[in-house]
Amino acid sequence: MIRELSFIDVLYLIAATRWTLALTAIAFAGGGLVGLAVALLRVSGLAPLRWLGGLYVLVVQGTPLLAWLFVFFFGFSIFGITVSPWIAAAASYSIYAGAFLGEIWRGCLQAIPRTQWEAGASLGLGFTQQLRYIIVPQALRLAIPPTVGFLVQLIKNTSLAAVIGFIELTREGQLTTATTFRPFTVYLIVAAIYFALCFPLTQVSRRLERRLHVAR
């Protein structure tokens, strides 16, 4: 049944945004933890650990996020295990975001010259102390723009979770379109909401970068 697009639909869209935000938060938190581990594996002094990290990135970057969502949500039911959509989403997004964040952060760590590690080692600092006091503080500033860039991607990629039943912003837009038949207006509103989420992030990123630069 087709009805008029009204203010209440806009409110529904805004309400659906909370799932977009919740999914993003989970994905970024889980992905951050996994990413940190991956980045550390990739810069470790032990070759097998570096290979392990490399293999992980290779596999995850080479497979679609959609496939992970399907595996976790539908795949386990074959063994009689019911996976809630939240668990499936958290696992899939953490695996996916972890690979990309891990690569971004590895790059930032490796951008710090080897001589900085050497200078730390020569003063008697151990590996983790070199990381913590010398390498990470310098890598952090480099990491902000690409990390925020990925976060913005992540916000938009949460729409994929619609396939396992999440009615987040994009899915809500589809549903609204189906009942009002006003795709142009609806998707414009959807796009505006995404923009309202992403734009402040890029601004914060810029300010953060500037602040860390002044404080070195």
Partner: protein, 243 residues
């Protein structure tokens, strides 16, 4: 027993042998200048002493501890062996004070107030007391290198290694850094320095070691060895750098 002792040290990069059986002992308080063409292995030799370069044969020992023994705690060893690099390698995100106090605080657990005093003391030694709150990029090359020396001194090492520390400096800044070295020499610091400053080596070093093709080609008392080289290789080298 010698403070630093290298015995038949072999080091390779792939199929290229950089150190081909190097033996050298350094006594406490001695100042050794290591000279030679680039690629002769002199920097590598220095970096073996604090275990920055793993070696493939022979032994390196410091104060009785075998550096190349996998069981040796290199972190502990490096507290006693200071090194200063050609490219300074200061930490750009930290102030001069924090550059100096990082290792004392983190490694030796020196309390913050005491660490600040320590920084002031070592900075006075290199004549940069007023730069304590500056950042590395606000300093000239010569000043940065003096801060790097101070940073090393703050760990009160028993031996200092200097890896071509004036090679990256503008000529007019070399003097201020060499002056600091001379003062350290007067204080009785044991030093091994890789250098191209032959005049300085003659003046300050007790012994000169000439490296050639991964070996110690010639060594002896600084003045005599530099005035009357026994091998044609050293003679050629000295002629090349002095003219």
């Amino acid at each position: 027993m010698s403070l630093v002792e290298l015995l038949d040290v072999v080091k390779r990069y792939g199929r290229h042998t950089v150190l081909n059986g190097v033996s050298l002992s350094v006594e406490k308080g001695e100042i050794i200048a290591i000279i030679g063409r680039s690629g002769s292995g002199k920097s590598t030799l220095l970096r073996c002493v604090n275990g920055l370069e793993p070696i493939h044969g022979g032994t390196v020992s410091f104060d009785g501890t075998v550096v190349n023994d996998p069981a040796t705690d290199l972190r502990k060893l490096r507290q006693h062996v200071g090194i200063v690099f050609q490219s300074f390698n200061l930490f750009p995100h930290l102030s001069v004070e924090k550059n100096i106090t990082l290792a004392p605080k983190v490694v030796k657990r020196v309390p913050p107030a005491e660490a600040r005093q320590l920084a002031e003391a070592v900075l006075r030694k290199v004549g940069l007391a007023e730069k304590i709150d500056a950042y590395p990029d606000q300093l000239s090359g010569g000043q940065q290198q003096r801060v790097a020396i101070a940073r090393s001194l703050a760990m009160s090492p028993q031996v200092m290694l200097f890896d071509e520390i004036t090679s990256a400096l503008d000529p007019e800044l070399v003097g201020e850094v060499l002056k600091v070295l001379e003062e350290m020499a007067r204080d009785g610091m044991t030093m091994m320095l890789v250098t191209h400053e032959i005049g300085f080596a003659r003046k300050v070093a007790d012994r000169v070691v000439f490296m050639h093709e991964g070996r110690i080609w010639e060594e002896g008392p600084a003045a005599a060895t530099l005035a009357q080289p026994r091998t044609p290789e050293l003679e050629t080298f000295l002629n090349a750098v002095l003219h």
